[in-house]
Amino acid sequence: MSTLTSQPTKESTAPRPRFGWLITDSISVSRRHLLKITRVPESLFFALIQPVMFVLLFAFVFGGAIDVGPGGAQSYREYLIPGILAQTVMFAVAGITVGITEDASKGIMDRFRSLPMRPGAVLTGHTLASLLQNILVIGILSVTGLAVGWRIHNGFSDAALAYLMFASFAYAITWVGAWIGLHMPNSEVAGTAGLAWIFPFTFASNIFTPVATMPTWLQPFVLWNPVSCLALAARKLFGNPTPLLGDSFPERYPVQLSFAYCFLLLAIFAPLAVRAFKTRNK
C-alpha cells in the first residue's frame, strides 16, 4: 500500500527547460496585464495625465520662479523635462505595488501557484508589462516636452542612451514596488505605503530645482539620490542645462552611477521579491 504508482501525465512530463519556461510564462503573464490595460483604459489615461499636468504646471506656473541659469523660462523647460521623466518612472512604481497586493490577496495567486509554471514569472511578467506601459508614457511625455520647448541637442546615440537608461531604471525600480506589494496586507494600505517612500526620493532631488537652492545638510542626500542621478545624467545626455553644485562624484559620473543603481536595485530587490512571493502564506 505504501508503494504509489505515479499516474501517467500529459504534456507536462516533457523535460523542463526551466529558463525557457521562465520566459514564455513571463510573456503569458505580462500579456494578461496588458489586456487588463486595454479593458480599463482609464488607468493608462490617468497615468499619462498626471505627468503632463506636471509639465504644464512647472513650465508655465512655477517655472518662472526657479533659476537654472541664463535663458530664463526656456532654459527651465529644458531643465524640467528630464526631471519629469524621472518622476514619472518613480510614480509608476506605486501602481505595481497595488497591483501585486491585489493579486496576492485574491484567489488568482493560488491558481498561479497551483500551476506547474515558474513561480518567478508571476513577478517578471508583471514588471515587464509595467515597463511597456512606462515606455509608452515616456514617449508621450517626450512629445509633450518637445511641444513646450524642450530640445535634444546632443545627437541620436546620446539620446538613445538616455532613453535606455530611463527604461532600465524603470524596470529595476518596479522590483522595489513588487517587493513592497508582497508585504502589504491589502490594497488600501498598499496604495498609501506604496507612495510614502516614493515622495522623499522624488522631491528631495534635483528634478524641479537645482541642488544649490537646498540646505547644505540635505545636499549629500540629494546628490546621491538615484532620482537626481537619473535626471542629471539625462540632462547631460540630452544637452540640457545642468546647474552643478561642485565636482562631487555623482555630479561627475551621473550616467555610470545611474546604470550602477539599476544593477544594484535589480540585484537586491528581484531575488528578495521572488523569495517573498514563494514564502508568502506558507
Binding site: L4, Q7, S12, L35, G107, I108, D110, S114, L115
Partner: protein, 314 residues
Amino acid sequence: MTLAIKASGLAKAYGDVIALNGIDIEVEQGTVLGLLGPNGSGKTTTVRILATLLQADSGSASVGGFDVATQPDEVRSVIGLTGQYAAVDEYLTGRENLELFGRLFHLSKFDAAKRATELLDRFDLSDAADRGIKGYSGGMRRRLDLAASLIGRPNVLFLDEPTTGLDPRSRQGMWAVIEDLISEGTTVLLTTQYLEEADQLANRIVVLDHDRIEIVCESAQDVARAASLIQEFGSAPATSEEVVKTVLLPVAGGSTAIVNIVRKLDENKIAIADIALRRPTLDDVFLSLTGHATEADEAISAPAKGRRGRKARS
C-alpha cells in the same frame, strides 16, 4: 489498491492557533473523499497543503505518487484546484482566462485555445465566453473556476467548498458538473460544510473537527470551577453538565492538553473520576454544523444516491 492521495500526520499551526493536528488521509484512485467539518476545522488548510500552496509543520503527504514537499512541480502537473473564491482575472473574458492558464500549463497556443473552447462548451459558458468575468453570475464564475482547474486534465482534483455561497439552483448545477467529472474517473478531494453535499458526491466521508476531552469530576460542585480552570487549554468554550459531573472541552492538541488539564486540576485539588480523549463523531460534527442533533434533520435521512455504493463514515 492505488492511492491517489496519501497523507499522514499532517500538522499546521499559525502562531499559537493549531489549524491541523496530525491528520491522516488516504484516497484511492478514482474515488471521491468528502472532508466534512465546520469552519475552522482545518479543511482548507489540508487542501492547501496537498495542493503545494502551504507547507505543513510536520507530517508527510503525496499526491499522484509525488511528494508535496519535495516534488511540488510534479504534483502541480497532476492536480487541479478549485478554491472557495473564483480564482480568475476579473478584467479578462472567460476565454482569455482559460487560455492564460492553458499557456501557463505549457500547452501550445493552439492547444490552449482548443482546450479553452472545449471547456467553455462543456460548462455551458460558450455564450459568455467573450464577455468580461465582471458580468458573470456567481454560478458562472464557479463553473469557470472549475473549468480553469481542469485545463491540464488533472488526475486529482481538489474542490474546496465548491458551492459555498451559491443559491440552490447554481448548487445543483455545480453538483451535476462535478458528478460528471467523477463518473469519468477523476479522483476528487471535496471539502464541504454541507452534509448533503458530501452525501451526494462522496464515496467516503472523513469528519474533520477538533478532539474533545471529557472530564468526569468526583463531585458535582467542582464541575463549574473545573470548566473555567481548564478553559485556557481549549480551542472553543467548554460545556459542563453538572448532573453527570462532566465537562467537555474541545481541544486542538489532544494528548498534551490532557497532561496540562490533569496537572491544573490536581494543583487546584479537584478530584477527577475519569478523563478521556474523544475523537469527533459524525453526530458531533453534525451538531456543530447545524446547531441541532442528527435525528431531527432531513439531510441525513435523505436517500443516499446508490450509484457509487457504500458510504463509510469514519
